[in-house]
Symmetry: C6
Subunit: 83 residues, 6 copies
């Protein structure tokens, strides 16, 4: 099972080189929203099997990622300069 990585290396910035990095940052921010609300890592580890095997929880998590990705994509002007 993937360990909960909540710390964001080098301090939080919304500017990323590529859309893929932007998506990974969105995943990290979605997790950060959880780990800042429930700081007890043991509790989080116990909860992981529950949501990671529940389709509705996985869809809800993907929804939070989508909102953060929308923010990050706008911050990076949709990486239009990469084209």
């Amino acid at each position: 099972e993937q360990e909960v990585r909540e710390e964001i290396p080098g301090g939080l910035s919304l500017i990323t080189a590529t859309p893929e990095e932007g998506f990974q940052l969105a995943l990290a921010l979605a997790r950060k929203g959880v780990t800042e609300t429930q700081r007890d890592k043991e509790v989080l580890k116990q909860l992981r099997p529950a949501y990671a095997h529940d389709p509705d929880s996985l869809i809800a998590a993907s929804h939070v990622v989508a909102v953060h990705f929308q923010t990050i994509a706008a911050a990076n002007n949709y990486w239009r300069d990469n084209e």
Copy 2:
């Protein structure tokens, strides 16, 4: 049943030629939000029948696609140049 396609060919870019391609990209990003949270493909395959036959899960999935499509549409300036 449709296999979970999570890899996005040629590296992630938000720029697409048409709205239809943009919608397909939104579907792929919604799935990517799930597959990056639950990396075990066997688990995902077992979950598919559950959500694919539950109207509320399908509506929730469509909601995530709508958020990503909003991001992609803005990235492509709503494909106004196609008109």
Copy 3:
């Protein structure tokens, strides 16, 4: 009961003549998010009575339409030229 119309005539475009057409397109995109996830029409037909008689499912569906309508309204500059 209204048949699931998922194909969008003439290829997908976000540009519509009126807000009403824009709303109808938003309905079609909300459905497309479902039919692209569950491609089996027989399954979809069986699911329809369930969500179409459940107030929470209908509200959730209306929510997806609202997100798509927001995208389409921005794409058409809120049909300001129609005023």
Copy 4:
């Protein structure tokens, strides 16, 4: 109980004179998202008591109104000219 009013007088336009009218339009669009999905008025009438007495359904309905109001407020440039 308030009758489901789904038809929007004079054809749909997002431009309104005041924020209050904008809010009423958002309510109508949220209902329209339901009535266009479930066209059977008898069914809708039977469903009303259920959601109108369920706090979570009422909050979910208010959420759909909030998304439409965001669209309508942007369409009217937040009625800044009214100030």
Copy 5:
């Protein structure tokens, strides 16, 4: 328990002097979305204990406030002139 205050003094305007006032307006609009759907104050009073003691209902209500606050913040150009 806090009485449901749904009427907005002096007619609805999205322009406020401070972010705090903007947040209070977002709370009022979130409630207005409920009170305009369920106009029976007696029913609303009976429902209050249910959602006010349910963490998921309180989170869902906070979500509606967040959407309205996003609209109001944009309407006030994020109160940048206040800095």
Copy 6:
């Protein structure tokens, strides 16, 4: 367990020095949406164990934070000047 901190020091402003401060403000606004709806601190303390040990509640809370963070990021022009 982390005490519910709802008061925002020095009056509410959306302008922050860094994305990290912006994220902390988003957390505070998500909580404020709850504490302004349920003002009884004793009730809130009793509710905390319930949502803080429920993955779906934690995901829903993270979703509210994501919406506020989107607002705050736009207010700060995505901290582009920090780059």
